[in-house]
Amino acid sequence: MELRSKTPSGPLVEKWSKHRFEMKLVNPANKRKYTVIVVGSGLAGGAAAASLSELGYNVKCFCFQDSPRRAHSIAAQGGINAAKNYQNDGDSIYRLFYDTIKGGDFRSREANVYRLAEVSVNIIDQCVAQGVPFAREYGGLLANRSFGGAQVSRTFYARGQTGQQLLLGCYQALEKEVSRGGVTMYPRTEMLDVVVVNGRARGIVTRDMVSGAIETHLADAVILGTGGYGNVFYLSTNAKGSNVTAIWRAYKRGAAFANPCFTQIHPTCIPVSGEHQSKLTLMSESLRNDGRVWVPKRKEDCAKRPRDIPEQDRDYYLERKYPSFGNLSPRDIASRAAKEVCDEGRGVGPGGRGVYLDFGDAIKRLGRDKIAERYGNLFEMYERITDENPYEVPMRIYPAVHYTMGGLWVDYNLMSTVPGLHVIGEANFSDHGANRLGASALMQGLADGYFVVPLTIGDYFGSNKLEQVAADNPAVRATEDEVRARTERLLSINGSRTVTSIHRELGRILWEYCGMARDAAGLEKALRLIPQLREEFWRDVRVPGTGAELNQSLEHAGRVADFLELAELMCIDALHREESCGGHFRTEHQTADGEALRHDDRFAYVAAWEYGGDAKPPILHKEPLAFENVALSQRSYK
């Protein structure tokens, strides 16, 4: 396997426009001869499917939800970054690029990140044209707010429902194309494998989740926009259905998996309340604009009511440790700081795993109405879950798994190491390095879907002659047979353990040993425990019902089977990366004051893992990261 990033030559600021000119085009009459499969209907997949159809391609779009409008992008709350500089506060494309590279702790590809910053301005224009109801000032112009890791206000938002509104814009464009006949939509349909014929991705195998029918869909190219794999931890802020299966199957068919251990732990989530907990709920990072994070200075005060702890006995630890960014420090840093104070025994709430996010000062300064206008829906959500009123008592928050920066390796054209297989949005590894900044996921999903992959797909078709693939091609038949056999095997084990109990156990192992802080001994232990659990799963899991009906246990079992393999790769990657960077914190590698210590001389590369075969170790390939425009430096938010 060879990793060729295909980054265009020339100055950074000209790379994308140069590349757009150099890419091959497909003339409008010929576009309709091509069929493109898009798996996933979130911001990346939905935007790509709609845009490709508008260009004239035949698009088949798949999602496991009952409607494309329900993809997990919908849950994003806070906002979307764009280098519009509407606030005249010194923002620019270059500054957004720089903040994103630095926020990612210098583990992403310069050219990709610059392109992301460049097209960010087009995204806002596109969304407004579609009718996305962004927040406005009284003059009718767009409003902005600040987000972590930046000192400018460049985040556009629609109350606390930005992801929903962007996704609905995208979904409406998609439905417009469905009614025009350009897109065929396949809801409640799960991709279970990718069909590779003569080295190229030529289709997918799916299961109809209502009838249970296993079918093959052939195409000229396949795009995966299937999101992240945070649910490998069982408890995360992801939707319950979010899973790794699509990209994991692609990995096992030859697509390299990049930086699998780069996981984002979000600092502001509602703490776990008990064993029954099925998921964790995020409280938007935007709350840190006005909320102040603190814990008591003394352990003895932790059980007191927060309002009874006087100002001088509170430790506003983010403001103390990072005076220039304060409560808006990047996510990885804020999360680790919360863990640290809780490890010291100064955490609050049940089990001592929580810190306060306090709006008392903001309400005094701005009034309750202003705070309600900014965060009303988030406050209500918090109260519904915890039965506590955040206008009166400070919120309690704790970090939780939220996003995965790792994903399938892609080149500058967003194509994986399997020709014809493109990967967009959270499913790829490309733009966020070792830590994603807030409000950048929506930006990347839409950048990939609206503005990058519709063009690079044309270049792929224009540069390659694709043969006809018949439905009875042996490679097609073999893939479909493997999917059938796997489904039957899951149903036939009939053991004693539920899928959920094994998933929960896997989550505990990963959170303990491959979570916010990692070390060699713990990772080695996880690498012993995970294969044992996987063996137990295949020996003793119980999946009731049949394959020929709606069977949610079967769906879950298939996803957990893949998580059980992915978890091992994550630990292997975390163990091999003998440095700390961004969200990957190896306790053996830290500065004197406890910050992440990178080793650029040895690890300034993307770790892309190639599937080595059943029961064989994965093979590591390195894509060196060249920094020609920014100087590698120790990140400082002090």
Partner: protein
């Protein structure tokens, strides 16, 4: 706390259904309603029975996947709350709780509590969009939108497409859903060029799908987890009446969909 559940079980679209009784024991008041069902399902699997099928995904009240009738009320007793955000502290210890799927001819049952809401996608496909193909959009700040208008549009756009409005309506009308989208787009300057055809086509599609008519009972706004006001229905009716006067023109323009 202990809860007695009566749950609608139906093995497939054409199978007969029935209410089945389950005991949910040692329920924590901090559990969400769906987490309580998770625990019941774990017990069913352990006993070798088929778990209760229900739609759910984000469990944060925003994806619109979940939704069941709880004691005859869409999404249960707490106002402005989707089923996933309803917590067991809303119930008394020892309560009897009846759980059924959405009731509507236009939402056929697939299995147990899972229904087919594809009709909503088809209503949007009929015209619930602004035609603005990717690329070429002008600078966002060249389209000023007065703040109050943007806020009204956002109130309508908050719809999560869960279907509670239909389930709660004695007529099984999808007017709140359809009107929310017509209002969201019709309030914005960008939505004006297609305002007439949008109203005509979406309303026609709503009728074709077999939803009932609106007679302003107002049950929909009571059930809506996003508390969307029936004011949007007044806006839809106004747009529809105006559009009907342009209907002849629409037929001439039609045929591209």
């Amino acid at each position: 706390m202990n809860i007695t559940l009566h749950v609608w079980r139906q093995s497939g679209p054409d199978a007969p259904g029935t209410m089945v009784k389950y005991d949910a024991k040692d329920v924590s008041p901090d559990m969400s309603f769906l987490e309580m069902l998770d625990v019941v399902n774990e017990g069913l699997v352990e006993r070798g029975e088929i778990p209760i099928a229900f739609d759910h995904d984000c469990r944060e009240g925003i994806c619109g996947s979940c939704g069941v009738m709880i004691n005859g009320i869409a999404h249960g007793p707490m106002p402005g709350t989707a089923t996933c955000q309803l917590h067991m502290r809303s119930f008394e210890d020892g309560a009897e709780v009846h759980v059924e799927p959405w009731r509507s001819r236009a939402f056929p049952v697939i299995k147990d509590l899972v229904v087919n809401r594809g009709a909503f996608d088809r209503i949007i496909a009929a015209g619930g969009f602004i035609t603005a193909p990717t690329g070429g959009a002008r600078d966002a700040n060249t389209i000023p939108v007065p703040k109050d208008m943007a806020d009204d549009a956002m109130d309508a756009a908050a719809c999560i497409g869960c279907g509670a409005c239909v389930a709660a309506c004695p007529n099984g009308s999808a007017s709140l859903f359809t009107a929310a989208k017509i209002s969201h787009l019709g309030l914005l300057p960008q939505g004006q060029p297609e305002r007439i055809r949008r109203a005509l086509r979406m309303v026609a599609q709503m009728d074709d799908e077999g939803f009932g008519h609106c007679s302003l009972y107002g049950e929909c706004q009571e059930a809506c987890p996003k508390e969307i006001s029936i004011d949007v229905i007044a806006r839809m009716n106004r747009d529809f009446v105006v559009a009907s006067m342009h209907a002849k023109e629409e037929r001439v323009l039609g045929g591209t969909g």
